[in-house]
């Protein structure tokens, strides 16, 4: 196995561990050392416990010595600070969950634990995953490994930066309107948002229950697929998961060679006026690369794309206003001192939540109020149906859809901090996949003139996760964009 262990992806690390070229302890130590070195610049991680990680790694090594040959045994995975890992803090980047330690594993975590993974660190996130830059976290902003003056995207910026900077071969993240795909694009890594209902949300701090989905971030589609395969499938503890069989996605992804026979739709609406020219150019070039791989490119239309961002905002704020009601200081987490119950609620939530969260809770509460609900919440549901229909019609004419992930490449830290609408607009190309429940993949497809990564988005119909991953895998076999490394931490 070539290079330093920190450079290995999931499959390389798994192979090296299987061949006992490296022990799980050595691999974990290398990654922890790199984190110690880079974290002062990056701030991608919110928590790590070297002792606990090394104990888990030792256990994995002992298991292997005892004949255990689970494919992911000893493979380290970083976890976004919204997923519960038993015994680890789970704070969603918020002061209000200060001191809360999860007493149970999320289902995604439990399945990866059963597969042998080690949870090496927790990654930074916008507070309650509300944001597109990882700047609203109580732990401070995470920086983009390609340019530390820029944001890594968000809300899963910590996971994206950790994978890009080689602090972990893969990370778990969540995506409610692009929170996996956009940071993946900004940081030049692969990010996959599975179809709604494919990965259990049990144990995942809820932002917007009808939109949230847990997914992997990694340095290749094959690696993302390996993590996805280990955690996907029906879960009795999440009633919104599907009972459809997942299938052997990993084998299908490994077998992907070209795109012959594939009808790839390109929606004109994705190339909106706000789309940065450099990003547009790279994505069009990527579509050409797909054509060269045998795909038939067809033009499709998604007329309601422009409403996606606003629609997401109303619906997610409404659900969030209800989901976040439980953070009240009564049972766990931060509690402000007050003499009276109403005061305690006000002070706890007033001090515990940051400005962006409060903004959304106010909006969400308002859009559900008697009088306003018709105009906002119900209308937003109707728009959601229109967006879903757009995709149904488009998928009648093509197998999958390709387009840009983001309107721009990574922007400078602080650039949008005081302009929330421009921040929300960053979800314009990704939110519709969540609203329609589709699966969507972001793969690196080149760089802007400034040397910043650009992502190609591949969308497939709900429960055609294997198709989206196969397309991405074929693309990565023909291109090397995903192999580029940020200039960081090389001595």
């Amino acid at each position: 196995m070539s290079g330093s262990p920190v450079d290995w992806g999931v499959s390389e690390a798994a192979d090296a561990l299987a061949r006992k070229e490296v022990s799980a302890v050595e691999l974990a130590q290398a990654l922890l050392a790199r984190a110690d070195k880079l974290e002062p610049q990056l701030n991608a991680l919110t928590w790590r416990d070297s002792e606990a990680v090394l104990t888990a790694a030792r256990a994995a090594d002992e298991a292997r010595a005892g004949g255990d040959s689970r494919p992911l045994l000893g493979v380290p995975v970083a976890v976004k600070d919204v997923l519960s890992v038993a015994g680890q803090p789970c704070t969603a980047g918020s002061k209000i969950l200060q001191g809360y330690v999860a007493p149970f594993d999320a289902t995604a975590i439990a399945r990866l634990r059963a597969a042998g993974c080690i949870f090496i660190a927790r990654t930074n996130t916008d507070e309650f995953a509300m944001g597109g830059s990882t700047e609203t976290s109580v732990y401070g902003p995470t920086r983009n490994p390609w340019d530390v003056a820029r944001v890594p995207g968000g809300s899963s910026g910590g996971s994206a930066a950790a994978v890009a900077a080689r602090l972990a071969p893969a990370a778990l993240a969540t995506d409610s309107s692009g929170s996996i795909r956009q940071p993946a694009a900004f940081c030049g890594v692969t990010g996959f948002k599975p179809s709604y209902g494919r990965v259990s949300r049990f144990g995942c701090v809820a932002l917007a229950s009808s939109l949230d989905q847990v997914g992997p971030m990694a340095r290749s589609v094959a690696d993302a697929a390996a993590i996805y395969q280990a955690m996907a499938g029906h879960d009795a503890r999440d009633s919104t998961t599907s009972a459809r069989p997942v299938g052997d996605v990993l084998a299908a992804v490994r077998a992907a060679k070209d795109l012959c026979g594939l009808k790839l739709g390109v929606p004109a609406e994705f190339f909106m006026p706000e789309l940065d020219a450099g990003v547009a150019q790279r994505v069009r070039a990527a579509v050409d690369e797909c054509r060269a791989l045998g795909a038939q490119i067809v033009e499709v239309s998604l007329p309601h794309t422009a409403y996606g961002m606003a629609d997401y905002f109303v619906l997610s704020a409404a659900e969030a206003s209800s989901n976040l009601a439980r953070y009240d200081g009564v049972r766990y987490g931060f509690r402000a001192d007050a003499d009276e119950l109403g005061d305690m609620y006000d002070q706890t939530r007033g001090q515990g939540f940051g400005a962006e969260v409060k903004r959304r809770l106010l909006v969400g509460t308002y859009v559900l109020c008697r009088g306003a609900a018709e105009e906002y919440y119900r209308r937003a549901q109707q728009v959601r149906t229109r967006i879903r229909r757009d995709f149904e019609q488009a998928f009648a004419a093509c197998d999958a859809i390709a387009g840009p992930v983001t309107l721009t490449a990574a922007f400078p830290l602080g650039a949008r901090r005081d302009d929330p609408v421009s921040m929300y607009r960053g979800d314009s190309l990704t939110a519709t996949a969540n609203l329609a429940g589709l699966c969507a993949l972001s793969v690196p497809c080149g760089f802007t003139a400034e040397g910043l990564p650009v992502g190609l988005q591949i969308l497939a119909p709900a429960f055609h996760d294997e198709l989206a991953l196969r397309i991405g895998a074929a693309y990565q076999q023909a291109t090397a964009w995903h192999e580029s490394r940020p200039p960081m931490g090389e001595d």
């Binding site: 919204v82 997923l83 519960s84 789970c90 969603a92 969950l97 809360y100 999860a102 007493p103 149970f104 999320a106 949300r201 049990f202 144990g203 995942c204 701090v205 809820a206 917007a208 229950s209 009808s210 009795a236 503890r237 999440d238 009633s239 919104t240 409404a318 659900e319 206003s321 209800s322 009601a325 439980r326 009240d328 009564v330 049972r331 766990y332 119950l341 609620y345 509460t365 559900l368 109020c369 008697r370 609900a373 919440y377």
Partner: protein
């Protein structure tokens, strides 16, 4: 006797005021919350009805910890739908859950999962009987929801026990069809009887299994439009509901008579002072911001499922009463008493079928059995006498093998210790003497020993025969068949 009257006799120590006789008419609507008899809670696997240490029957789910999700308890759905089937509701084939948003420490998520847009059961109703007057009370709907935690208010703090949080509740909402406290209580009694019958809930009021929000309004006689209503929250005894309604309706009427207006508000019943007191007005009422619960898919019920559940329904009290009257020729009173408790009704039927003596079976169950149970404060499960044994005892009486008073003695023995009545009769020497030769002999002895009394009888003093009967019984040590003894005496005295 009607159901309501029976309740009155058992539980009600007061006299209803003649509210209907005034210039105003009252309209009462009930929202009845019933804890279902399920093993686990509504949306998590925690044990329900756990009376152990506070905050021990809890999990991350019912404590509202981050990332937890609700999972529907199918048994609760089955039970609620069965209630709908019993009262003739339309069962929604597709039913959904909604979130009710409000902040209070007893709601762990500050969100209660309930049903607003598409409840499980819509419509239906229950017939009540108050003083022989039958009336149909319409039900608006029945929905499924989760219970909240129990709050214990101390002087400077409030303690919360989450053992109750998340227990399966059904909420039945009536139309404002009841016109008096008697009718409201009759409805609750009839509902409770039905729920206990079908095993839906134990309806133990002391344990808070049934809690009621009581809406009432009054309007002048002749007016079609309902008056402004007030709501009494969280009432948990039928007696309290009756008293509170009497007070509240009278208060509303007095307000209107004095030229005032009733304010739409929530009030609470203050039992010690016997008053209702204002809690909050409509202006400060919550906007619960109901919206579809995104964590739960709709409940879809097909015909086969619903019909399967319908087939599990027991015969309901009203139907059983009618059948007992038709099949066993019982008077309405007997049928009412016997069917008030499903276990008693089953016991009676077993005795009646075995013995073939329907009225005698009814008399024994209503008389001796209920008396003995009442004395010990026990349910039928505590009785050691089996239906077969009681049937055998009845047969012994009918065959005049033992006297009625001897049978009562045998019953008591069997009730306490069980056993075979025939063996017991033999063991105790209680069998009646029906040997006419022996009885003739005893009759002659009695007459010979009391010539004066015999003379009185012959002179037309019928009472003299009773004295001689007593002598025969004494001579036989109580074993003589009284009928044969009477016949023998009359014959000998002619």
């Amino acid at each position: 006797m009607s159901r309501a009257r029976r309740w009155e006799k058992i539980e009600r120590p007061f006299v209803a005021k003649e509210l209907m006789m005034s210039d105003y008419i009252a309209s009462i609507g009930l929202e009845v919350h019933v804890q279902l008899k399920t093993r686990s809670k509504m949306f998590c696997a925690c044990p329900a009805h756990d009376e152990s240490e506070p905050n021990t029957a809890v999990c991350p789910g019912c404590l509202g910890m981050p990332g937890t999700l609700p999972v529907i308890n199918r048994e609760a759905i089955r039970k609620t739908v069965k209630v709908g089937l019993m009262i003739g509701s339309k069962i929604n084939r597709r039913s959904t859950f909604d979130r009710k948003n409000y902040f209070y420490p007893d709601v762990s998520k500050n969100v209660q999962i309930t049903q607003a847009a598409a409840p499980l059961c819509v419509g239906g109703g229950i017939e009540i009987d108050v003083g022989g007057q039958k009336k149909f009370i319409r039900v608006n709907h029945i929905h499924q929801e989760e219970d909240v935690a129990k709050s214990l208010h101390m002087e400077h703090s409030t303690w919360i026990d989450f053992n109750r949080a998340g227990m399966a509740l059904m909420e039945l909402v009536t139309e404002p069809d009841m016109a008096s406290p008697d009718e409201a209580v009759a409805f609750l009694v009839a509902l409770k009887e039905m729920l206990v019958y079908a095993g839906i809930s134990d309806c133990n009021l002391e344990l808070g299994h049934v809690r009621c929000d009581v809406n009432s309004s009054v309007r002048p006689v002749g007016s079609e439009q309902l008056g402004v209503k007030t709501e009494l929250k969280n009432m948990n005894t039928f007696k309290g509901i009756h008293r509170a309604l009497e007070y509240e309706i009278e208060r509303q009427m007095e307000t209107l008579r004095a030229g005032g207006t009733v304010v739409q508000e929530t009030r609470r019943w203050d039992d010690p002072t016997g008053q209702t007191l204002p809690m909050r007005t409509k202006e400060s009422a919550h906007d619960y911001r109901y919206f579809h619960e995104p964590d739960l898919p709709p409940i879809v019920l097909d015909d086969a499922t619903i019909e399967g559940w319908r087939a599990e329904l027991p015969e309901l009290p009203a139907a059983k009463r009618a059948r007992f009257m038709a099949d066993y020729g019982l008077p309405e009173y007997d049928a009412g008493v016997l069917t008030a408790d499903r276990a008693i009704a089953d016991y009676f039927e077993a005795v009646a079928k075995k013995s073939g003596q329907f009225k005698a079976s009814s008399n024994w169950v209503m008389g001796e059995l209920l008396r003995a149970l009442g004395e010990q404060g026990e349910t039928i499960a505590a009785a050691k006498i089996t239906p077969d044994a009681l049937a055998a005892l009845i047969a012994l009486v009918e065959a005049q093998t033992i006297s009625h008073s001897a049978a009562k003695e045998v019953f008591q023995e069997l009730f306490e210790n069980g056993g075979d009545p025939e063996a017991l009769v033999k063991e105790k020497g209680l069998a009646q003497v029906s040997d006419t030769g022996m009885i003739d002999q005893l009759a002659e002895q009695a007459i010979a020993a009391n010539p004066k009394v015999a003379e009185d009888y012959r002179a037309g003093k019928e009472a003299a025969l009773k004295f001689l009967m007593g002598q025969v019984m004494k001579l036989s040590r109580g074993a003589a068949n009284p009928q044969l003894a009477t016949e023998a005496l009359r014959r000998k005295l002619q």
